[in-house]
Amino acid sequence: MSRYAADVAALARKDVLLELRSRDTLPAMLLFVVSALVVFHFSLPEGSSDVAAAGLLWIAIVFTALLGLSRSFAAEREQRLLDALVLAPCDRSAIWLGKVVSIVVFLALAEAVALPAFALFFRPVGWETVAAVALANLGIAGVGTVLAAMAAASRARELLLPVLFLPLAIPIVVGGVGATVADDPGRYLAFLGLYDGMFAILSWASFEYVVTE
C-alpha cells in the first residue's frame, strides 16, 4: 500500500473511530432519516402517486447528508485539529479523501436503514435506486467535504452549509430521481457518474487551498 493510501486510510479510520466513541452524528442521522420519511407520509395528500414518494426519498437522503456534513468538521474546529492536520507531513488532498471515505461510510449506514424503511412505507426499491444512491453518495461526500471545510472557516458555520450545498445538489437529485422512476435508468446513472467524476477531480485538486492560506 502506497504512502498516500496509508494516509487516507489512517485519516478515515480516525473519523470512524471518533464517531464510534462519541456517537454524535450517526444516531442522529438514522433517527432523522426515518422521521423524515414518516413526515413525508403525512405530507403527501391522499391518493398521490408512488412516483411522488420517490422524489421524497431523495429529499430525505440529501437532507440527511447535510446533517452529517455539517458535523463533519466539528471535531476539527472545536479541537483546532485542522491546523495540526495541515501541518502533518501528508498531501492535503489526503485529508479530503479521508474525510470523503468516512462520510461515505456514514451515508451508507444511514441509507442501509432508509432504503428498507422506504420500501416498507412507500414502494419497493429496485437495483437502479441502490446504484443511484451509491453513486450519489460519492458526489455528495466529494462536494460536501469541500463545502463543509469552507463553512467551518466562516462565521456562519452550520448555517452556511445548506445554502452552499443545495444548488450543487440539484443535479444529484435530478439524476437520482430520474434513475428511480425512469424506464431507462442508464442515462441517469451515467449522469451521476459524470457528476462524481467532474466534481471529484475539482475537489481533490482544490481542497488544499480551502484549508491553507
Binding site: S154, V163, P167, I170, P171, S206
Partner: protein, 229 residues
C-alpha cells in the same frame, strides 16, 4: 498604485457600450424584419440572449481570475474575480427578468419549468448568491481569497452539469435558436444579434472596470487609514 487606479479602459468600454447600445436598439426596432411567428415580441430576443451570454462570460471570467489567484497567489486577482462574479449576478438577474417577460408574452405564464435556460439561471442565481454569503462570512485575508476562488471554480463546473441535468429532467418547450446546424435565423437578424451582444459585453466590461477601480480605491483608502491609525 497610480497605474492600477487609472481608468482609460473603462472610458473606452463605456463609449463603445453607449454607441453599440444605441445602434443595437435602433437596428432591432427599425431595421431588422419582424419575426414571422412571434411578431413584435420577438424583439426582446435582442436583449435577453445577449444579456444571458454576457452573464456566462462574466462567470467564466471570474473563474479564470480565481484560477489565476490559486495559480500565482497574487492578491489582486481576488478582487477581480469577485467583481466579475458580481457583474455576472447582475446580468443573471436581468436574464431572469427579461426571460420571464418573454415567457409571459409568448406562453402567457411568468414562469415555466420547461424553459431550460431560465431554470439554469435560477440555479446559478442561488449558487452565486451563496457566494456572497460565503464571502461576507469569512474574515478578509488570503484564506477568504482562496475559499472564494475555489467556490467560483465550482460554479463554472456547475454550469454545464446543471445544463445537462435540466436537459435530462425537462421537457423541450424552450425555442432552440442555436443548433448544431448553426443559428436558425436570417442573416440580418444574426447581424443585429451580434451588434447587441457586442453592446452588452462592452457594457459589462465598462461596469467591471469601473467597479474594480472603485473597490481598489476603497481598499487603498482602508490601507491608508490603517497606516495612519
Amino acid at each position: 498604485m497610480s497605474t492600477s487606479l487609472r481608468n482609460n479602459g473603462a472610458a473606452a468600454f463605456a463609449a463603445a457600450a453607449a454607441l453599440l447600445l444605441v445602434a443595437g436598439t435602433a437596428l432591432a426596432f427599425y431595421w431588422v424584419p419582424e419575426d414571422a411567428d412571434q411578431g413584435f415580441s420577438q424583439k426582446i430576443f435582442y436583449l435577453h440572449v445577449p444579456v444571458a451570454l454576457t452573464a456566462y462570460a462574466c462567470f467564466v471570467w471570474g473563474a479564470w481570475k480565481a484560477l489565476r489567484l490559486l495559480w500565482t497567489r497574487e492578491a489582486r486577482y481576488d478582487l477581480e474575480s469577485y467583481t466579475a462574479v458580481h457583474m455576472g449576478v447582475i446580468f443573471g438577474v436581468l436574464t431572469l427578468l427579461t426571460g420571464s417577460i418573454w415567457a409571459k408574452i409568448s406562453w402567457g405564464i411568468w414562469w415555466s419549468w420547461g424553459e431550460r435556460q431560465l431554470v439554469l439561471f435560477l440555479i446559478l442565481f442561488l449558487f452565486y448568491s451563496a457566494y456572497f454569503m460565503l464571502r461576507y462570512s469569512v474574515e478578509p485575508g488570503p484564506r477568504r481569497a482562496n475559499i472564494s476562488a475555489v467556490y467560483a471554480l465550482f460554479g463554472v463546473v456547475l454550469i454545464p452539469v446543471s445544463f445537462l441535468a435540466i436537459r435530462l429532467a425537462g421537457t423541450l418547450l424552450h425555442p432552440t435558436v442555436f443548433t448544431r446546424e448553426g443559428p436558425q435565423m436570417s442573416a440580418s437578424m444574426f447581424f443585429v444579434f451580434c451588434v447587441c451582444l457586442a453592446a452588452t459585453l462592452a457594457l459589462a466590461g465598462a461596469l467591471y472596470l469601473n467597479e474594480l477601480t472603485g473597490k481598489r480605491l476603497d481598499q487603498a483608502l482602508r490601507d491608508l487609514r490603517e497606516a495612519v491609525a
